[in-house]
């Protein structure tokens, strides 16, 4: 029982990281209708920015904030330079998807050029200690991931539901043409969306680094698959879905190998099976909207 509790909490902690990555994916999907395959690589890149700042002697917390700011700028620049010139993603979704796949390779290559392929060591954000809760040792890392996810979720809620900026972003996501007609500078809001997504991705990258123990150019490639599984389960266009989906995927991937030995050697298998099952049974996901076309 204690073992199970511990694994469950590890799962929720890991799931919090998938949820963070998923939130970034959903923000971009809602505003452009396109899945950003480069989300994980952009997160990896800005995690390297965190590492670089930290390496200069700056405290970890400040380095993370600096990395988030860096991620925001990188995301915004990528939108302006690589995504926006391709054209309206609602009219040419495939072209934009291909661009994000190209970005996946390009950002990865850029990181290898700048930082090399040797793994960098990274101080865990919340230290490497753990705390005993009812006899169950829980790593501060996992608690930290949950708390940070909670904070990010709250921030997203406030921004999207309570501010004019959030209202405008939701308007762009729902109907970008009409958003332009009511005076919203649509390209600028899309740029902000890419910036937000990359900033949240930075945090996901930092936590993934402490789970894997090192930072390299392939940091986020597994996490991205789990992030995809999370938003497939939760619904591509639902922020709540990304959080719930992320947590469920985290728990599944940490508990399943205990009961089904085969999964131990195939950590990705539960994620792929989940994606397949959701697409077969409930393609819109738990919280996603079914596509309704009104004429």
């Amino acid at each position: 029982m204690k073992d199970f509790l511990q694994i469950l909490i590890v799962g929720i902690g890991d799931g919090s990281v998938y949820a963070m990555l998923g939130l970034g994916l959903v923000v971009i999907f809602r505003s452009t209708g396109v899945l950003n395959f480069a989300q994980g690589e952009i997160a990896m890149f800005s995690t390297f920015v965190v590492w670089t700042i930290h390496d200069l002697g700056v405290p970890m917390w400040l380095a993370v904030i600096g990395g988030m700011a860096g991620g925001f700028i990188i995301g915004a620049i990528i939108h302006e330079v690589a995504v926006r010139p391709v054209g309206d993603p609602h009219q040419k979704p495939l072209a934009v998807v291909i661009v994000t796949i190209g970005l996946f390779l390009g950002v990865n290559g850029a990181a290898q050029l700048i930082w090399g392929t040797v793994d960098r060591r990274f101080d865990p954000l919340f230290g490497s200690g753990s705390v005993n809760v009812a006899g169950v040792p829980i790593a501060w890392q996992k608690i930290g991931a949950m708390v940070v996810l909670g904070a990010i979720a709250f921030l997203f809620f406030v921004v999207f539901q309570k501010t004019k900026l959030g209202l405008a972003m939701r308007a762009v996501a729902s109907n970008s043409e009409s958003a332009g007609l009511v005076g919203i500078p649509v390209p600028r809001l899309l740029m902000l969306g890419w910036g937000f997504a990359a900033a949240v991705g930075t945090v996901a990258g930092v936590f993934t680094t402490s789970v894997l123990g090192g930072l390299g150019p392939n940091l986020m490639q597994l996490t991205l698959i789990f992030g995809f599984a999370a938003i497939t389960l939760g619904g591509f266009d639902s922020l709540v879905g990304a959080i719930v989906g992320g947590l469920i995927v985290g728990v599944l991937t940490s508990t399943l190998p205990r009961y089904v030995e085969q999964f131990e050697k195939m950590p990705l298998a539960p994620a792929f099976i989940l994606i397949l099952l959701v697409l077969l049974i409930r393609p819109q996901g738990l919280f996603g909207k079914k596509d309704v076309t009104r004429v």
């Binding site: 729902s174 043409e177 332009g180 004429v295």
Partner: protein, 254 residues
Amino acid sequence: MAGDEATSGTEQKGGPASAAPLLEVDGLRAGYGIVEVLFGIDLRVDHNETVVVLGANGAGKTTTLRAVSGMIASTGSVRFEGASVSGKRPDQLLKLGIAHVPQGRGTIGALTVEENLRIGAYNRKDADVAADIDRWYEQFPRLGERKGQLAGSMSGGEQQMLAIARALMSRPKLLLLDEPSMGLAPLVTQEVFDQLRQITENSATSVLLVEQNANLALEFASRAYVLEAGQIVASGAAADLQGDPAIQKAYLGL
């Protein structure tokens, strides 16, 4: 801000037409890709005037509005209050005072009725936004009853009224209306036009309307243009066109 005087001042009504027209379009050409739709359109909307462009399906009515509001590229000259606005984006034109209710209404389905109205005031910084929302609830009581409902779940007529109210939230000087009758039952269409008449009578907002429903449109507008295959083939006072046998035959089913 732009348009502040639009709803407040009715003193312009019937005022001197000495200044430049509100909207002046000369030799407007536009299309989609290699397909040309408009072959040099000239039209004019004066201050405090309602103008209709009549035309059949495919004549270029929607394209005309889309070119004027900067949704598609065009050549020729579009001047607003005497200044050229060619090449500007819709959000930039809105700041100058041109609001566009697009074909198919263009309500933002994932936002509530109230959020749609609030987003309509996106560019306004004044303190009267809430009061304006109440004013439109008063004009369109059914929107007030449904303020918390998602716009996408409302009927066609309600969405049309919401789209008009949302456009007016920006306090425009010129309202572009693309076939408000489309897809609506005759009674609902009548209601929409009744509301429009009340709104234009009580404000200084000018309207450029494109319509197929010639009967209603000619009663609503003071001046009219007839668009055929991308060219203006007739124009004049709405009352004159109503009595023109050729127009009656082609558009009024008489």
